[in-house]
Symmetry: C2
Subunit: 321 residues, 2 copies
Amino acid sequence: MQAQLIALDWGTSSLRAYKLGPAGVVLEQRSLAFGIMHLPVEPRDIAGTRCSNGFELAFDAACGDWLDAQPTLAVIACGMVGSAQGWSEAAYRNTPVDVASLGQALHRVRSLRGVDVYIVPGVIEQVGLPNVMRGEETQVLGVLQNLRAGGELLIGLPGSHSKWVEVADGCITHFDTFMTGELFAVLSKHSILGRTQKTPEHFQADAFDRGVQVARSSDGQRGVLSTLFSARTLGLTAELGAEQQPDYLSGLLIGHELAGLPAGAKHTPIILVGAAPLCARYQRALALCDFAHVSLAQEATERGLWQLALAAGLIQPALEA
Amino acid sequence: MQAQLIALDWGTSSLRAYKLGPAGVVLEQRSLAFGIMHLPVEPRDIAGTRCSNGFELAFDAACGDWLDAQPTLAVIACGMVGSAQGWSEAAYRNTPVDVASLGQALHRVRSLRGVDVYIVPGVIEQVGLPNVMRGEETQVLGVLQNLRAGGELLIGLPGSHSKWVEVADGCITHFDTFMTGELFAVLSKHSILGRTQKTPEHFQADAFDRGVQVARSSDGQRGVLSTLFSARTLGLTAELGAEQQPDYLSGLLIGHELAGLPAGAKHTPIILVGAAPLCARYQRALALCDFAHVSLAQEATERGLWQLALAAGLIQPALEA
């Protein structure tokens, strides 16, 4: 099948490349370790020129052969590649945004081989405390592709910096960021809580659930700065074994994150996007906290990039057979 | 003036030794770096015996000469020296506790030179989530020494693990722990927030106040996992300079801690105990958050140790002149 688009999901720690065919079907995909903070450094010839630019080298490694075979393929990219530390800065767009408005705002950078790469700008919300995202906006728009238009949605993207994105009538209207994943990592690695933790062989469901329940209990009302210490004291009192402490902490932090969602969220359809094991934790915690309508989305990034490329006119919609 | 008691404040990272005279007046004091995690390792002769025990070596360095001069001086100690990782474990006492009950529960360890060291047990609360403290209970009892008996008090001990201790009629009835100081440290050193921070030459009062205000705003209702990210985004939007970010984060975390205090705390007399610069931050934040009655206490540890030694009968009360 003839390819129509190269779509790059280019974040801080990894670079995923998709070769997409008609209607956005994935023909081939690759995952490279060349996130923008881990670019290749070994100079190489690209298009007859000696090159030491890490972005060019990573781009060539990701899809140079695809472009050799089809030099006129359009290329679109999202994620931290468009940040100030990226290949070329794609200035944030203010909320509200939808596929049409974001597709009109792609930022072009010309690669050494003469191919234009269109970078999706991140999104900023400047009502109240500022909030930013890069990459998640594309995933959200990819999720929306398969849904009937209209109505309100809450899309959860768990991770180092979890995003919760409110969507109304196909438009991103508001979002929040929770530093849950990064906090879990730094506390486990660098705080007193990590000293008594032991990584379990299997997921410790009871400990995880207990953490979630503490977050939503009256103890949890005092906030996570207070409940955190229980990950230590429940160990001191032999109520939590060393292997239960990591999942207890995970449940506790996720529980506090969910407690921070707007009150109406319990009755809003929620869609989770992200790595399957992490989404499974959130799904479990959401159920414990009485969120009624939760489902999972797949392939959100590549679908979002396809939709944005269509909106930008980089590719043409397939004719119905 | 003749000494009556040696009082040791022996924590994780430091060891403070006080030589106390009649009525607990401080005759001499020393601060050593020999916390229980930083004990001396160089073997030395103590009381005619070659000794390599770090606790004995630190004890000898702290007050060996005082004991040489007055071998029958009583010795009392509080803090992590009584933990499972300490010199000898002094099992936690359950709340409620007061000077009389804690003074009756001192844990004795005999030193190489034949002198008994009486260790104050830590306190545990096992109602709801367990909570523990070691050392702070002594400071609280020291604060109470100078107050008229009766009434309710809230005593704040800011630090890596801030304690807020409720006192009724001279008795410790309840306490909470907030991991505020440690969280500030690990986030500044190991998270994305630290990457854009620059340590300022002077305290950035406006940034600190802004952090406190955000914690108590409607944004703050979503919890600290959410507001934390603003320490980054306010930098991205040029609302906070690199040198303002550390004090913003400090104010934000302290503000969230104060938001976790019981509702009645705003009208309860509050006494702060701890390092002066940190207490000044808390005093400022408490004022911003409309806590009405806040004062500072000094020399709480040595006073508490004196009171406990009296209650234990290690020393005799001074006769009124």
